[in-house]
């Protein structure tokens, strides 16, 4: 699995968590770029991504996530 492979599923997760249909992910997108972003949304995204991709991230991993690209790369590395 590559980072590119997981973008469709990751896009679904983001849209679900934010209750929208129009979020288009790109690697350099950061949380504050998305309207409605807050720390609880971040928690919900991490939980949903872990369930969807069957990975468990530790808090040091999570601290390194600044962009969607970081998250995708982490999931690939852990999957």
């Amino acid at each position: 699995m590559t980072a590119t492979d997981i973008y469709p599923a990751l896009t679904e997760i983001f849209n679900e968590v934010f209750g929208r249909r129009d979020i288009v992910l790109r690697p350099d997108l950061t949380g504050p770029d998305i309207p409605g972003w807050n720390s609880f949304k971040f928690i919900d995204l991490i939980m949903a991504a872990e369930t969807r991709f069957g990975v468990q991230l530790n808090t040091e991993d999570i601290d390194r996530i600044n962009t969607v690209g970081d998250l995708a790369a982490l999931i690939v590395a852990k999957a």
């Binding site: 928690i43 808090t59 601290d63």
Partner: protein, 485 residues
């Protein structure tokens, strides 16, 4: 007591986080190095602006060893707030990293800047400088006007509190304690002074992810004693991580700083049935906490009302309910050795809150907490802040009772407030979730009188919170102002 613990088990971990361990011997060396640096400077007031970890703990212990007092700073707070506190304290010394230290020193040219690097020096020879300030620490809390108030805690008060932690046995030398609160929040005193006096191991929470996923830190660090505000428990429950897999190592959870709710207890005992939960109450002005109530899965239900009972006062402390219509309700007024010296350089506020009352014919200095409580059966229950008691259309209302009705209606996180002369409630809810306000109003009407159902009910994805994770009512009112034309 820390030095005795260090002598007893020098190789035991004092601080442990993400695989890095600082032993008691190493922490003692650092504390003595800080103390030597403080003593060399002269003066007594030390502002410690460091993140949680061995350096911060060593600087705090070193301040005590050098006979100084300290004020802790949350380095994540906005700089303007840090600057304001530093300006009020006017410390003799500032311990901070180079960048923050330089910014603070610009306003305080007379304060000596001490780098945390001094902790690496050889301080083993320092054994005190023959003087001891009566003040142990100053905690700056947000006053009702928004201006920080410095609560001055004396050494005798701190010693009494630490004595209780030690004698109560809720922390043992083999425990690994969560060190969640930053050093500007007095809940950290339990960890740092209580834990290190007993010889236990502190596990500091570092970085945003440790704070967002606290249950994972419990599992990672094999934490055995949890200490925080109940809000952190709510966070674990929200993430679905209040589970045996994550929390299975906990033998005791201690909560303080805000009301604990029955839902918290139900979630904890469902996940880890054999654990013990301790609820405790205490304003910053009476040295962290001064009540205790231990609960197990078998007896917690009897301590549950709208909130969980706050417990009985610890030995030596008097808790009195004054000013109520009958003796079983009133403002919580506290007497005993843990009562603060007053507010830093603020005699007017000190005189208003610290007054003399007569106890069994003896004039006794007391702290008037502003918290309203009632005794039901053998338990005391917090009801609300006196300054939050409101009248709507001439009828007195208790905001906490209204909030309790929202919780029962399935909205566990809610802020109820008087706003523009009306009762308002803002619930925290995912915007993707359907919000049926008429149905909610119908549910509320089953438990609340008509005048107690908020005229305004709004929802938001996240209620504003302060640095200590408590819901910030003033910011909620500002949010309502902004949302409402």
């Amino acid at each position: 007591m820390f030095l005795a613990a260090a002598r007893a088990r020098p190789a035991h971990p004092a601080v442990s986080c993400r695989g890095a361990v600082t032993t008691y011997a190493a922490l003692e060396r650092r504390a003595r190095a800080f103390a030597a640096a403080f003593a060399a400077q002269g003066g007594s007031g030390v502002l410690i602006a460091l993140p949680q970890g061995p350096d911060a703990y060593a600087a705090i212990l070193g301040a005590g060893l050098a006979g100084c007092y300290y004020a802790g700073i949350n380095v994540e707070a906005p700089f303007e707030k840090i600057r304001r506190i530093a300006g009020l304290l006017r410390p003799d010394m500032i311990v901070a990293d180079e960048t923050l230290g330089a910014r603070l020193a610009a306003d305080l040219p007379d304060a000596a800047l001490i780098s945390p690097a001094v902790a690496g020096g050889d301080g083993t020879a320092f054994a005190g400088n023959g003087r001891r300030h009566d003040i142990a620490y100053i905690i700056f809390t947000s006053g009702s006007t928004g201006a920080p108030k410095g609560v001055v805690i004396g050494r005798a008060a701190l010693n009494h509190f630490v004595g209780w932690v030690k004698n109560s046995g809720f922390i043992t030398p083999d425990d690994r304690i969560s060190q969640f609160p930053n050093i500007a929040f007095d809940v950290s005193i339990t960890d740092i002074f209580g834990g290190l006096a007993i010889g236990a191991t502190l596990c500091p929470f570092l970085g945003r992810a440790d704070r967002m996923f606290p249950a994972r830190v419990v599992a990672r660090e094999k934490i055995t004693v949890w200490n925080s505000t109940p809000s952190v428990m709510s966070l674990m429950m929200r993430a679905g991580e209040a589970t045996a897999d994550h929390l299975g190592t906990l033998r005791l959870l201690n909560f303080c700083g805000e009301p604990l709710f029955p839902d918290h207890l139900r979630a904890i005992f469902a996940a880890i049935p054999d654990t013990v939960v301790q609820n405790s109450y205490g304003p910053t002005e009476t040295t962290v906490t001064m009540t205790e109530l231990r609960m197990t899965r078998d007896n917690f239900a009897e301590a549950c009302g709208a909130t969980v009972a706050i417990g009985d006062p610890i030995a030596g402390i008097g808790l009195h309910l004054l000013g109520g219509a009958h003796p079983d309700e009133g403002e919580i007024v506290i007497t005993g050795p843990q009562v603060a010296d007053g507010y830093w350089r603020d005699p007017v506020k000190t005189e208003a809150a610290f007054r003399v009352i007569e106890i069994d014919g003896t004039p006794t200095r007391a702290y008037f907490s502003g918290d309203w409580a009632e005794r039901r059966g053998r338990h005391i229950f917090f009801r609300e802040r006196i300054d939050l008691q409101v009248k709507i259309s001439g009828v007195r209302l208790e905001l906490e009772e209204v909030a309790s009705a929202f919780r029962q209606a399935g909205h566990p996180i809610v802020c109820v407030l008087k706003w523009r002369d009306e009762l308002a409630a803002v619930i925290e809810q995912d915007p993707a979730t359907r919000f049926d306000e008429p149905a909610l109003r119908q549910t509320l009407a089953r438990t609340l009188e008509r005048h107690a159902i908020p005229a305004v009910i709004r929802r938001t994805a996240q209620l504003p919170r302060n640095e200590n994770d408590k819901i910030d009512r003033k910011s909620v009112a500002a949010w309502l102002d902004a949302e409402t034309p």
